[in-house]
Symmetry: C6
Subunit: 84 residues, 6 copies
């Protein structure tokens, strides 16, 4: 439903906040957290070099989880908390 | 109600934001905070190695509590604050 | 109304977000901020050892206050800002 | 309207989120940010010793401003943004 | 509409969250972020001395931008997102 | 629709929170996160010098992503989550 991490700004980008389930909403939140990192640092090699640094550092993992939590809050509201 | 920390992205994942009580909502918030960490670092050994670092560091414990607070805010709104 | 910091996850936990006054709501927010710390680090001795570190560090005190602010926002909304 | 920083938890505390003006709402947000610090560290001497550390450190001043912003968001919503 | 950074707490302060345009709302958010810093550290000389530290430090600039984002969220809601 | 990062405060600035698609909303959130940095540090040379520091630092990239997430939450609400 959303092409692999299309660099931010491609207007024909089919990004939508509406998902079928909370699990899909959570995956989208993870994707949006990464999307902003790509928008700030489009060079995927630089990002790849950073992976060992943040993915094995508790503080960075918690900070990344925090960004996902904010996006998930947005997506959950967009889907009226998948109540129906 | 939610299988043990299923790695993010399994669409048949039965994640739901609706819980019977605030206490269950709080436990779910803790689980979602961890879920995003697993989505960023799926290697459970790496996460296990990190445990002594964050679980005995005040700053990291506070930061983790902050992520839970954001998810709990989302879950509380989803359950209309368990008013009825 | 809420037993002394019952470890997160005890489903019969009588946690409720509804309080009589903003002051009680604020105390509950402080309690919820600590509840997530206990959920992450159940060992009270480890937490006790951490106390000198965070309780005498401006940055940690501010970070803890931030978590309380997020929970208080949730609790205030749950109580419709104690308007009536 | 609110006694000098009464230590958190005094139930007869007359804390209210309703203020006459946005400026009073902002002052209340500053007070609530401090209130949580006092709840975490009731010893005013320790807090006084910390003052030089945070009040002359850009990072801490910004972090404190962030906590005020969260409380102000809560108070602004409680007062329906002082629209009338 | 809002006198130059009047120290927080002057009740006759004409602070209002209602602005004509999103751009004015954004400027107000920047002002409110600074207002809380002045409330915590009223000594403008100390703040002036801090400027080189935060204004040339990526981490501090991002943290300051975060506070503006929270205030802008509040102001945008207060103005119903300037939809009309 | 929004001139290249016009320095904050130009009242005739045509900033609007309403966008056609979520992708455009996300790009606007990235722009607003930067706008506040420019409002704090108008000297583009200083900002340019900072780029290597934050754009190759996991912690700063995550922190910047967090600011985008807050702005995106605001913009998504402004556009009623692009539901129609």
């Amino acid at each position: 439903q959303e092409p692999a991490n299309s660099p931010a700004g491609q207007s024909e980008d089919a990004l939508s906040l509406i998902t079928g389930t909370p699990a899909e909403g959570f995956d989208l939140a993870v994707k949006l957290a990464r999307r902003a990192v790509v928008a700030t640092q489009p060079n995927k090699e630089v990002l790849f070099d950073q992976r060992p640094e943040y993915s094995e550092d508790a503080e960075d993992l918690i900070a990344a989880s925090h960004v996902v939590a904010v996006h998930f809050q947005t997506i959950a509201a967009a889907n009226d908390y998948w109540k129906d």
